[in-house]
Symmetry: C2
Subunit: 268 residues, 2 copies
DNA sequence: TAGTGGTCTAGACCACGGG
DNA sequence: CCGTGGTCTAGACCACTAG
């Protein structure tokens, strides 16, 4: 199956960097990559080169263990890496198979947004509004409170490197006893925003991402052409009693929040 | 960052309580959940109930192993479950800590889209256009071919349960030798569409998700009010020589493709 | 230096799938 | 039934962090 036939693909001439483990021989000396990573790399290379094709069964765990002189648990750990990369699929009782490159199982993460909102040196938070209001419409529904109940409302304009970056709104039920009220109303930092610095913490949260067209006001604030598309990222956080205790959203022009995902073998 | 230092590790789990699903005691009889899942559940419950709070260090691996009478590898497997759920974070040399519920590491997957496009019984693919054209503009760039080079172009309208669901376009360099050309041009099934049934397979792919406003034609085809927002899902697939060999996109009204993500403890 | 997680072994048995 | 992956053990040593 995965015999090293020493036949080098002609288009393999170019790559100058050869990851450890790609040689096909496991090194156990100090300083080398963990054995399981090396083994994962060997299998990954076989997939990348086409030696193992979509649907093929990769060598069994015991075969891999024997061939590379490692234990079964180590083989398992190696294969787990590939499973998590989406390259292979385990089928109990049958084998482990190379998956097709298809978009079905792809996921998009918020790393770029995360990175920017972590870069506090270049962030400036401008408070547009910050007070206690009587709740209307959707926000009350989301928070599970009655119409006209008081809520804390904070609207922020987030600047990144001196440029308007995103709009944000946060709602939470007003509780005069809560010690966080003042913090919330004066939240020019990132507290309770993208990162949850709520001292009591939340038990769980739910996020929803959808496309919106910015209105005049939003476009002006973000200094972007009107009718420009953007992402809206809505969130609800729940406390340990499963009660909604924070609702809010971000509006981010999509240029500021690229959603990209990769599948298949990208790192050989 | 308020730590509750009064919390003593000794009472982080009370073996007496028996919540539905998992007691605080590991069962090893046949038919019960795997030990590592039971242990994961025990720790998860401690987080859900607030006994373990954000930032707290969970008991060390050896402590867990001793307390529950299991081996270190089993403890590791249990904790790995929670790491993958995003509930805890391992820090080498320091400990394993309960993560805050925050949106930073969230990811959105395409499960709902995947599910619908797998439900072939209720899908109908209508070919809007299917021919070989000389490539113009962006599509040529994406495929890395010259202007005016021939490409296969297929445009499809996807119906789900008799309703227009999504628009799709697929481009690939025209290669008269390739045996898939006819298949592509007559692709009223899902071959080469969301699921990659390309016999040769691809090595890797890249996806991009962004918000678009549908134009008149698109709105009409999808029978949706004009200027309605939608998601555009673009893809490029590469062959084993790292050459782009398939470019295309889906346009899906966002109601048809909810992007929802959950964080924290949802399953106790 | 003490204590933590990270890797690894050489076994064992169980659970599932297909011939 | 056999071969597969799935779980589990009781050790061992390594790598990192912090006091």
């Amino acid at each position: 199956m995965v015999e090293n036939t020493r036949t080098i693909n002609t288009d393999w001439v170019s790559p100058r960097q050869k990851p450890a483990g790609a040689s096909g021989v496991i090194e156990k000396r100090k300083g080398s990559l963990p054995v399981y990573m090396q083994l994962a790399q060997i299998i990954r290379s076989s997939i990348a080169s086409g030696k193992l094709k979509s649907g093929d069964r990769i060598p069994t765990a015991s075969k891999l263990a024997e061939e590379h002189g490692v234990s079964l648990m180590t083989v398992r750990q190696a294969v787990t890496v590939l499973v998590e990369e989406g390259l292979v699929k385990r089928v109990h009782g049958s084998g482990t198979f190379v998956r097709k490159v298809e978009m079905g199982k792809t996921s998009f993460h918020l790393d770029s947004l995360n990175q920017i909102l972590s870069d506090t040196d270049h962030l400036k938070i401008q408070i547009l509004k910050s007070d206690v209001e009587r709740v209307q419409g959707i926000e009350g529904e989301m928070l599970g409170i009655k119409l006209e109940d008081p809520v804390i409302l904070v609207e922020r304009l987030i600047h990144y490197q001196k440029e308007p970056f995103a709009l944000q709104a946060a709602y939470m039920p007003f509780d005069p006893i809560s010690p966080v009220v003042e913090d919330m109303l004066d939240a020019t930092g990132l507290s309770g925003l993208f990162f949850n610095e709520n001292p009591s913490g939340y038990k769980k949260g739910s996020l929803r991402l959808w496309p919106v067209i910015m209105d005049q006001v939003e476009s002006d604030l973000l200094m972007i052409a009107e009718d420009k598309q953007a992402f809206k990222l809505e969130y609800i956080y729940y406390n340990f009693k499963d009660k909604p205790c924070a609702y809010g959203w971000f509006i981010v022009p999509h240029e500021n929040m690229p959603l990209i995902s990769q599948i298949g073998v990208w790192n050989e």
